[in-house]
């Protein structure tokens, strides 16, 4: 989707303001937000791709003014309601009002180390060879789906070169919407800044994205 999250190349969003000796958390609620988000992810009820899509589906004024932990919390509320674990009335009252859906797994303290150490690998085998080879010139597709995609707007309909074939991975555009993992080959594609930004682009700059096979066309 052409959402507020797709930020590459936008102007006017202000200074970066790196913080000296930045603390891990700026408030207690951020710690809880991190832990709750990871704990609920461990239910196994939704995928990482669905949660990314829930975040980018927030209204643009909220997305652009919220801290990232706030974005996480708001998207998590959506996911928990969508999948039947909680209701809006419960969030409004701050208490359990009815029994909801039971998750496959509840993350207990003693499971945390193992779950974090394992993570969630997204590489999957595919039964066909890669369509593109290292060094090949390719063009990214021009599309504007209303659904989840990981091809940023600034890199659509651009000509670049395949720099690496990175293996085969779950395809987020399908997986975010419950259509299955449908793995595809993934490529690192590098573009000259002039191809992306045109006039006035930094001549010393190249930018790469990691692109699934169906994002790419032969030139």
């Amino acid at each position: 989707m052409n959402g507020p999250h797709d930020l590459g190349g936008q102007h006017g969003l202000g200074p970066i303001a790196p913080e000296k000796d930045e603390p891990y958390f700026h408030a207690e609620w951020e710690k809880r937000a991190l832990g709750i988000t990871l704990s609920c992810g461990a239910f196994g009820a939704w995928t990482l791709d669905e949660s990314r899509h829930a975040r980018e589906s927030l209204p643009p004024p909220i997305y652009l003014s919220a801290s990232y932990y706030e974005i996480w919390v708001r998207a998590l509320e959506t996911l928990l309601k969508r999948h039947g674990f909680i209701t809006q009335a419960e969030l409004d009252t701050g208490h359990m009002l009815e029994k909801g859906r039971e998750p496959k797994r509840v993350l207990k303290a003693e499971m945390v180390a193992g779950v974090l150490a394992t993570g969630g690998p997204c590489d999957r085998p595919v039964d066909r060879p890669p369509r593109f080879a290292v060094g090949q010139t390719v063009r990214t597709k021009n599309f504007n789906p209303k659904t989840h995609t990981r091809l940023p707007r600034y890199a659509r309909a651009k000509v670049g070169v395949v720099e690496a074939v990175q293996g085969s991975f779950v395809f987020p555009d399908d997986n975010a919407h419950g259509k299955g993992e449908n793995p595809q080959w993934l490529y690192t594609v590098v573009f000259d800044a002039g191809e992306i930004w045109g006039e006035g682009a930094d001549p010393t700059l190249t930018v790469s994205i990691d692109a699934w096979e169906s994002y790419l066309e032969r030139v």
């Binding site: 999250h5 930020l7 590459g8 190349g9 936008q10 102007h11 969003l13 202000g14 200074p15 970066i16 303001a17 790196p18 913080e19 930045e22 891990y24 958390f25 700026h26 408030a27 609620w29 710690k31 809880r32 937000a33 832990g35 709750i36 704990s39 609920c40 239910f43 801290s67 990232y68 919390v73 674990f85 909680i86 969030l91 701050g94 208490h95 359990m96 207990k108 303290a109 499971m111 945390v112 180390a113 779950v115 993570g119 590489d123 990981r150 600034y154 990175q166 779950v170 993934l186 690192t188 590098v190 992306i196 930004w197 930094d202 010393t204 700059l205 190249t206 790469s208 990691d210 692109a211």
Partner: protein
């Protein structure tokens, strides 16, 4: 948090956004706990992990080893996930690692324009600026302007390569080894490796600067 809501809490005291979020997260945690969906002690364990165990010192050890051991550096180039795992760093947001090496010709910079992808296993939790719109919007179009805000001015001839983490590969920048560090132990070298130097918004420290 020194400011609190008073009275009915509606309409008059919403100037402190953090206080609103505190209440919102408290409500969420209470509902989930009452329903048996989360274990508050698991949350404590997650927070403790990222406050004390998983952070940029992990990445600094990877870089220091790559500087000291050419065979390890070569392994890191070919199979970063396995090379990094050999030092005990693996797991969430480090499942598919790639190491990119700065050279005299090229400086590497990592961003996630679409969300907040970051190599947690080696760098821990991302800083606020990494996840915020200014950095995400400008890193791909004006990296020199971005680096200037970090106090880093690269020579005009230096090539810049920006890696937009659009998939599940997580990038670790291996900065150039500072001059004057011949004979340094891996521990001493690791002290020179800053978090920002592994994102690309900084360089490794010189021994003088580290003192």
């Amino acid at each position: 948090m020194s400011e609190h809501h008073h009275g009915d809490g509606h309409g008059h005291h919403h100037d402190n956004h953090f206080t609103d979020m505190e209440a919102r997260v408290k409500a969420l945690e209470t509902v989930l706990t009452e329903k048996g969906l989360i274990d508050p002690e698991a949350i404590d364990a997650i927070v403790e992990t990222y406050e004390t165990k998983v952070g940029p010192r992990n990445g600094a050890r990877v870089v220091a080893k790559a500087w000291s051991d050419p065979e390890f550096a070569d392994w890191l180039k070919r199979d970063a996930t396995a090379a990094i795992a050999s030092l005990g760093f693996a797991g969430r947001q480090g499942e598919h690692m790639r190491a990119v090496f700065n050279t005299p010709d090229t400086h590497n910079l990592v961003v996630c324009t679409l969300c907040s992808c970051y190599p947690w296993a080696v760098l821990g939790l991302p800083p606020v600026w990494y996840k915020a719109p200014p950095y995400r919007s400008r890193a791909v179009i004006d990296p020199r302007g971005v680096l200037a805000e970090f106090g880093l001015e690269l020579s005009a001839e230096k090539k810049i390569r920006v890696w937009d983490s659009t998939a599940e590969l997580r990038y670790l920048v291996v900065p150039e080894r500072p001059e004057g560090t011949e004979g340094f132990s891996e521990d001493a070298l690791a002290e020179l490796v800053t978090r920002d130097s592994m994102i690309g918004t900084g360089l490794a420290l010189s021994p003088e600067a580290a003192r």
